[in-house]
């Protein structure tokens, strides 16, 4: 496979140093504790439902997580607290079409737009990003979508728009959220300059296919330099606001989940370490990279900020 590099990411920067042993090799050594080996990589036999997907400079020379794992190990608490729950529950309940996104707040041209219209501002492209969960596991996922900034600009945010707030669908029939003590719906937010960073992405697909319900169909945020919970799923509303918006995990446990939630190996979660991570499909933990390896693109956003305070 031809590997393309983003001009500002060198593979030497992102390829992990430690030698790791593949799961398959460990099966032999571990005997009874042999671990599952799943078919790796993304099968691309079927033609893409999206038609033509533009080649993207945002790629990695790291092995992508198996599609099976990426679509069956999910945190989507609206569908249950176990990792297997979303794949089991979401597809039967969530109706990803028709879908509208309401864009509101400090902008010149607010409106409720159909999903297809919403993402029409740019050609669909595939980006292979690392995904680092706050729980210290990670994946590498080929997303299909459009840059967030391009999608937002047409609504002409005003100078008062300092933050962007996102909201997940709030429909008890489609999302059985009663099972826990959260203040639903799921909410997330970005600072305006973070949202406009070229890395910020809106995904409508993965592995060349339409986004499965359990991964946040039909449209979700992907901000790869932040912990996974920032990448809000099944977005129905986007609001330009002046004040830092309230977000679900931050309001649930503010000392554990910050608003910024940048991947940072030097700032531990109060209850576990963040300096290493388990890449799904690998045996040995690998070191976690600052900003999940996207420092060149995003470190400037946080210049002068105390990242231990603004975690």
């Amino acid at each position: 496979m031809l590997i393309r590099h983003a001009p500002d990411i060198r593979s030497s920067d992102i390829t992990p140093r430690p030698v790791y042993l593949s799961r398959r090799q460990w099966m032999i050594g571990l005997g009874a504790f042999a671990l599952a080996s799943s078919a790796g990589g993304a099968g691309r036999a079927a033609p893409s439902p999206f038609g033509k997907i533009a080649k993207s400079a945002y790629t990695l020379d790291e092995k992508t997580t198996s599609r099976e794992d990426a679509t069956h190990y999910n945190n989507f608490y609206e569908y249950g607290l176990n990792k297997e729950d979303p794949a089991r529950n979401a597809p039967g309940l969530l109706k990803p079409r028709p879908w509208t996104v309401s864009v509101e707040g400090e902008c010149a041209k607010p409106g409720v737009v159909d999903l297809d219209d919403f993402i029409r501002t740019a050609a669909l492209e595939e980006r292979i990003y690392r995904l680092r969960c706050v729980e210290a596991w990670s994946m590498v996922i080929p997303w299909v979508g459009v840059p967030l900034g391009t999608a937002l600009q047409r609504f002409e945010p005003t100078s008062k728009a300092k933050y962007v707030a996102f909201q997940t669908l709030n429909d008890p029939k489609q999302m059985p959220t009663e099972s826990s003590g959260f203040r639903w719906p799921y909410r997330e937010g970005l600072r305006m300059d973070e949202a406009m960073n070229p890395l910020a992405f809106l995904a409508v697909g993965l592995y060349g296919d339409v986004l499965p319900a359990q991964n946040g169909a039909p449209i979700r945020l992907v901000v790869p330099w932040k912990y996974g919970f920032k990448s809000i799923k099944s977005i129905v509303a986007i609001r330009f606001v002046e004040q830092q918006p309230t977000t679900l995990w931050n309001s649930f446990a503010p000392e554990e989940y910050g608003f910024y939630a940048n991947v940072n190996p030097n700032v531990d979660h109060p209850r576990w370490s963040q300096d290493k991570e388990r890449r799904i499909g690998e045996f040995l933990r690998r070191p976690t990279l600052m900003f999940n390896g996207y420092g060149e693109q995003v470190a400037g956003l946080y210049a002068g900020m105390d990242l231990k305070r603004y975690y």
Binding site: F33, L35, K83, W272, S273, I280, R285
Partner: protein, 218 residues
């Protein structure tokens, strides 16, 4: 696994032959039952059925079974008192040892599969993260209990001292449940159930003890 003799009903004698045979049948049955979770886990591992994060699945399952068997072991004495079936006591020690076996496998899986002998990282985790601290402490407290589980050790220590030592489970049990409570992100219901069960079973003993005016009276 240590040999299990007559349980902790130290005064008890081997009764008539048919009863003895019946007891060893129950013993064998308990051993088989306690082995099933491990066998199921191993089979799932070999079949590749442990999901996307098999290491996490192994560690969680072993920890769950350690807690469950601990609850069962702690329930033996109250059950014996409630039912008046004195023979139950002879199965307590082996169930306790099985709880320890799962705890030991849980610990080993953490050291080998999760951290891969990175002792420095394990040390940091124990010091910095309270759920690891609680788990390690609970396991450490179980070690002397497991080590003194043989009939020979009971005889050597003497019944009273042995029982006093084994009251460490009053600390280890709740600690193990707290370890679980502190680990979870939001779904604290299941660990809370373990905590309440363990605490309830231990409190029951306290109540019985104070009522009877002494510990474990025959």
């Amino acid at each position: 696994m240590a040999a299990d003799g007559g349980g902790v009903d130290l005064g008890g004698r081997r009764s008539s032959r048919p009863a003895f045979r019946w007891r060893s049948g129950v013993r064998a049955g308990i051993h088989v039952l306690c082995l099933i979770p491990l066998a199921v886990l191993m089979a799932a591992g070999i079949a590749g059925d442990l999901g996307a994060n098999p290491i996490e699945a192994v560690i969680r399952s072993l920890g769950d079974w350690a807690l469950r068997l601990l609850v069962v072991a702690l329930a033996v004495t109250p059950a014996r008192r409630l039912t008046g079936w004195a023979g139950l006591a002879s199965y307590r020690r082996m169930i306790g040892l099985w709880a320890f076996a799962y705890a030991a496998l849980h610990f080993a899986a953490y050291v080998v599969l999760d951290q891969f002998f990175d002792w420095a990282a394990i040390g940091r985790e124990i010091v910095k993260h309270k759920f690891i601290t609680a788990g390690m402490l609970a396991f450490a407290l179980l070690l002397p209990l497991a080590a003194t589980s043989t009939s020979a050790m009971i005889r050597r220590l003497g019944g009273r001292r042995w029982q006093r030592l084994h009251r460490l489970v009053y600390v280890a049990g709740p600690l193990a449940a707290i370890h679980y409570i502190w680990m979870v992100k939001a779904d604290a219901l299941q660990p809370m159930v373990y905590f309440v069960l363990i605490l309830g079973l231990l409190c029951y003993r306290g109540v019985v003890k104070s009522r009877a005016g002494g510990w474990m009276r025959k």
